[in-house]
């Protein structure tokens, strides 16, 4: 454990009466180890410790740092409370005094149903505190626990300081909603932290790799387009001009900056502004992928993008965008007429090998003839990523140095242990760290085989996907053309890249397209032969081939991602073997391990590398290395950073440090100005204040004429609604919340009143999907007063659209038309318009006056098909793979009537993908719908190009 972690822990433990605090630390400062430290100190006699809002990778890292050896089941390791556990088992766990991971949804339900004895809880550890809001479920949980357990501590953590400063006084508001008073800031520049990490820092080698000319061209073009989009955005006068810089545009948080400013007026924005927001996002991805993906994959992504971007997108038609597409293509292949009459000038600066296709065979000559008398040449360029070569060189250099050292040690074998130790540490694993799994796999291939082979593999796959997809539309051409020219979609025809260049261009595009298909067909034939040779031709030859490849990959991946400390000796031979098997002209390289940040595993402590090559520089990972070094002071650690020179990669890395420092400076300022009452019961006191007046109110109102007198107001709430804040606000108003799973409606206010709640976004999307129509139908069938609640958000505008957006005549897609149609078809449906969450709570209270309290048992039975019988468990929604159910219900042929039987007959969607049509007919109760579904599942995706 690092020293400053102990300082943080001591700080938090010092003030038990404050009931905890909020800790914000720099990203990469090993938050998981800090949490593990707290868990170590936990003792069962204190009571149960609940860990909320931990992401799966955080859970994993916490568990690994608590217990590096998973074979030794330690009692300290927290287990997880899931909804799979029956209620009585959960109860016994809550009272056990151990530590548990739990989701806020399960916890709030167990609190509301009083299944959790609050006195048994010692405290809460809350991760990702930056994502909390005043009305979130976590705040709800803390309020309930605090109100009955005054000794409870709440320790909240965040390692995303920039997210802690988004919005007005976010840190203060977060403290208040958790009833905390103390903010602890631990930036990287904090004196204890910097002293400890800089005492004996690792040796750093900073390598700047020049980008290829085309990469530079693409980057320049993307930035130009980005700049143009930002200029357009400035013209709208909707976003603070200061925020609209290219540097901000490099970060994901840019979307948040823009959305936060635009959200209040989102529904009044014109289409163009909305499009600009999404275009900027796309452009940021293009910059990111430029340095992450190989040339072919990048081109493939651009292809997908071009096919899916709406015609409205501003950027795709910008002048510089043409360059993006053109350069991306030229990194992969070069297309032109032979005899020097090339269509595009060749760029000499591309160093990668060019290979001319063999045009000698007859097939090719045919195609040339078709292409119109002048012969056409498609030249493969297949530019390799410049970093690949550099990575190779570094590895060779490391190996050479090691050999040198080894021989020198051999010479003086008699020398002291010191040298030996040195030698040992120096011979450790080399770690290459990338952003994503995809890069890992690819780099490993580059190192173990030949980079050119890797490019060729990608290129063949790219082409194959074209020919495979091309097969079907050709066969069905007549049908599709006659019946439904749109049928196979926008993608079937070539999308005009250069709309200005007219007929000549389009013929060139066709030629190019044909040439690509030609090569693809060749490759396809080859693959087919190979597969036939191996086994009988299966239904789908190509996909089979792909499947095989996939399996191979699986094997290598498994090896890599498995963190359970396999003995390193087991690992080395495998990698070494690859090395030996590679082309002879390469020098020897040391054993290498590839690691993706995305996987979120604690690789440094497991592998103990002595050389780390940071292939994609990332600030959090740099800190992880620093901590690793600080924890292993005797170990020699050498770090290589690979940056593309003058790239946005460098810019982004440097900006991320500036941004984090800025965030901390702002937090320090905020902390100095915070007004936190010294009263230790502040939290609970405030709680009483807000709750009591409404409670009294309610009591007097009720006492007026109602028989049940002092009884609390009850509201039955669907389990799924606990994702939203309304249950929290209703509870704040003094209502008794009963969580159950409802088939019809979201809130049941009385035996007569059933409410379906829609935020504005939900309203639009559920009109589009038809879900709202169905929900209205169900509510009208079962309740006397069915209510559609349209809930606006307090910080967004209270209207659907600006006056200028109302067209001159009645149009079917306008929200007014949809609401009118809903009213016409369901004249009994009542519509409630609410300004905000809090207004909704007022409306609910008012509607409940003079109504009976709802009946829980009855409400849960409404709309449940009789064959399913009575609802067996309270957390039924948790027991479904809701995302799979939603997906299933969107497939053609699947209806409200048959989706349940399909789920009974197939275990999962992957299972469904293989079910023959006959069996589907049985499950779906009809040949016709079964055929529709089967055809849809097997339909060939239309070709790109």
């Amino acid at each position: 454990m690092v020293q400053f972690h102990e300082n943080i822990i001591a700080d938090l433990l010092e003030e038990p009466s404050a009931g905890g605090g909020l800790v914000v630390l720099s990203s990469g400062l090993a938050l998981h180890k800090l949490i593990a430290g707290f868990l170590h100190l936990h003792d069962t006699y204190e009571g149960t410790l609940l860990i909320l809002s931990a992401s799966p990778s955080q859970k994993h890292s916490i568990l690994t740092s608590l217990n590096p050896n998973p074979n030794n089941e330690s009692t300290k390791s927290p287990s997880e409370i899931t909804s799979d556990l029956p209620a009585h088992q959960r109860l016994s766990l809550y009272s056990s005094g151990n530590a548990f991971f739990i989701t806020s949804r399960i916890l709030i339900v167990d609190l509301l149903t009083r299944r959790l004895p609050t006195s048994t809880v010692a405290g809460i550890i809350l991760l990702n505190a930056h994502s909390l809001s005043e009305t979130c479920t976590e705040a709800f949980i803390v309020r309930i626990l605090r109100s009955s357990n005054k000794n409870l501590y709440v320790r909240a953590f965040s390692d995303k300081p920039h997210a802690m400063v988004s919005g007005f006084a976010k840190a203060e508001r977060t403290l208040k909603c958790l009833y905390l008073r103390k903010l602890h800031l631990w930036p990287r520049f904090q004196v204890y932290v910097s002293e400890e990490l800089e005492r004996d820092p690792p040796e750093v080698v900073d390598i700047r790799v020049p980008m290829s000319a085309y990469m530079v061209g693409i980057q320049k073009a993307v930035i130009e387009v980005m700049d143009a989009c930002l200029k357009e955005m400035r013209k709208t006068n909707k976003v603070d001009v200061e925020d609209l810089t290219v540097e901000n545009g490099l970060f994901k948080s840019f979307d948040e900056i823009v959305r936060r400013q635009l959200d209040p007026i989102w529904h009044t924005l014109g289409k163009k502004t909305k499009q600009l927001v999404s275009d900027l996002k796309t452009l940021r991805k293009l910059l990111d992928y430029l340095v992450r993906y190989d040339a072919v994959t990048y081109l493939k992504y651009l292809d997908s993008l071009r096919a899916s971007e709406s015609f409205r997108s501003v950027w795709i038609f910008a002048e510089s965008s043409y360059k993006i597409f053109e350069y991306a293509k030229r990194r992969v292949y070069h297309f032109g007429r032979s005899k020097g009459e090339s269509l595009t000038t060749q760029d000499k600066s591309v160093k990668s090998k060019k290979r001319k296709l063999d045009y000698s065979n007859e097939d090719k000559e045919d195609s040339v003839a078709i292409n119109g008398n002048s012969s056409v040449i498609l030249e493969e360029v297949l530019e390799e990523a410049p970093k690949w070569k550099v990575l190779r060189e570094i590895l060779e250099e490391i190996e050479a140095e090691r050999e040198k050292q080894a021989t020198s040690i051999d010479e003086c074998v008699v020398e002291s242990d010191q040298n030996n130790n040195n030698n040992n540490s120096y011979n450790g694993m080399v770690l290459v760290a990338c952003k994503d799994e995809h890069s890992c796999v690819q780099l490993e291939e580059c190192i173990t085989s030949n980079p050119n082979k890797v490019m060729r593999g990608e290129w063949e796959k790219y082409l194959l996907s074209k020919v495979q997809l091309h097969a079907l539309p050709k066969r069905n051409k007549k049908k599709t053309q006659n019946q439904n020219p749109k049928g196979f979609g926008v993608l079937d025809g070539a999308i005009p890249l250069t709309p200005t260049k007219g007929a000549e261009t389009s013929s060139i595009i066709t030629q190019e397209h044909n040439a690509l298909l030609e090569i693809a067909t060749e490759i396809n034939k080859r693959t087919q032969k190979v597969v036939e040779f191996v086994q009988d031709p299966p239904n789908n030859v190509i996909s089979k081939g792909r499947g095989d490849k996939g399996n191979k990959k699986k094997a290598t991946l498994k090896k890599k991602t498995d963190t359970s400390p396999i003995k390193e000796s087991e690992k080395l031979p495998v990698l070494k073997k690859h090395v030996e098997g590679s082309d002879g002209n390469f020098k020897k390289i040391p054993p290498v391990h590839f690691y993706a940040y995305e996987s979120g595993q604690q690789i440094l402590d497991v592998l103990k590398p002595c050389v780390i090559i940071v292939y994609h520089p990332d600030i959090a990972f740099v800190r992880e290395i620093e901590i690793y070094k600080a924890e292993n002071p005797s170990k020699k650690v050498k770090v290589y950073f690979l940056f593309y020179e003058t790239s946005t990669e460098v810019q982004k890395f440097e900006a991320s440090i500036r941004r984090e420092n800025g965030a901390f400076e702002s937090l320090i300022r905020q902390k100095s100005m915070m007004i936190m009452p010294v009263d230790q019961n502040y939290g609970i006191g405030q709680n009483m204040e807000t709750e009591s007046p409404s409670k009294q109110n309610m009591v007097t109102r009720k006492a007026g004429g109602q028989k049940e007198g002092l009884k609390e107001m009850q509201v039955i709430v669907d389990m799924r609604e606990f994702m939203s804040s309304l249950p929290n606000v209703l509870h704040q108003k003094g209502m008794n919340i009963i969580p159950v799973t409802l088939e019809v409606g979201d809130y049941i206010l009385s035996p007569q009143i059933c409410v379906e709640r829609k935020s504005i976004q939900d309203l639009f999307s559920s009109f589009a999907s038809g879900r709202l129509f169905h929900q209205a139908e169900m509510m009208v069938r079962y309740y006397r007063i069915p209510v559609l609640l349209i809930e606006f958000s307090q910080d967004k505008s209270f209207s659907f659209q600006s006056t200028s957006e109302i067209s001159d005549d009645v149009t079917p897609h306008n929200i007014i038309s949809k609401l009118s149609l809903l009213a016409l078809h369901f004249p009994r449906l009542r519509i409630v318009w609410s300004r905000s969450l809090h207004a909704t709570a007022e409306i609910f209270a008012s509607l409940k006056l003079n109504q009976d309290e709802p009946d829980e048992a009855k409400a849960t039975r409404v709309g449940v098909p009789s064959e399913e019988g009575i609802v067996e468990d309270d957390v039924r929604a948790e027991n479904y793979n809701t995302s799979a159910v939603e997906f299933l219900r969107r497939l053609p042929g699947v209806t409200d009537a048959n989706y349940r039987t399909i789920m009974d007959g197939c275990s999962s969607l992957a299972d469904l993908a293989l079910v023959p049509v006959e069996r589907l007919a049985e499950l779906m109760g009809g040949q016709k719908s079964a055929k529709i579904l089967r055809d849809f599942l097997d339909a060939k995706y239309p070709t790109l190009v």
């Binding site: 796309t282 992928y289 990048y298 493939k300 292809d303 997908s304 899916s308 994503d436 799994e437 995809h438 796999v441 049928g487 190509i542 792909r546 996939g550 699986k554 991946l557 995305e598 996987s599 038809g770 129509f773 209207s799 659907f800 006056t803 109302i806 005549d809 038309s817 949809k818 009118s820 149609l821 809903l822 009213a823 016409l824 078809h825 004249p827 449906l829 009542r830 519509i831 409630v832 318009w833 207004a839 409306i843 468990d873 479904y880 793979n881 995302s883 799979a884 939603e886 969107r890 497939l891 275990s907 999962s908 969607l909 993908a913 293989l914 849809f936 599942l937 995706y941 239309p942 790109l944």
Partner: protein, 210 residues
Amino acid sequence: GASSSSAQNRNNAILVSHRQKGNPLLKHIRNVRWAFADVVCDYMLGQQSCALYLSIRYHLLHPDYLYFRIRELGKNFKLRVVLCHIDVEDVVKPLLEVTRTALLHDCTLLCGWSLEECGRYLETIKVYENKPADIIQGQMDTDYLSRLSHALTSVRHVNKTDVVTLGSTFGSLSHIMDASMEDLARCPGIGERKVKRLYDTFHEPFKRTV
């Protein structure tokens, strides 16, 4: 002759109560004919549908007005709309009162933020009098790509570009549903999170065993 055509006119037109004379809202009813007539509601939109117009500003001055107007309507209309013009800033309290009155007396409340919007509601209800509900029943475009997109984008964070990437990589939906995590991860633009979401959606059982 004349009488039948005028009857037809009356059927195709919104009948406006004389009470509404001078309401600037009338200027915004342009896509449908309208005529003054002796009707008990403010706007008669069809055989069985009618609307009362209420400005929040007026409601603040005459809080009982709406209730008395609704009571006059009688039981002859299937759809009784209270068309509420939100023309004040501080709307929460008056809107709560209007909501409560409309809801408890069998009226459908529709809100407009401008006279244009209020006028458009009246026009639309008249124009759509006999229209089937298909545009709100989720019958989207039936072409393959729209349907594929509709299904795949139900998985969180999957966007239209991802749909194209998945489609062109795997060739058909059944192959996408059957893809391994590794193959999903090789698709450009599909990061760790999306891979996991997609894979879990396809491979986790529909019903979890308890």
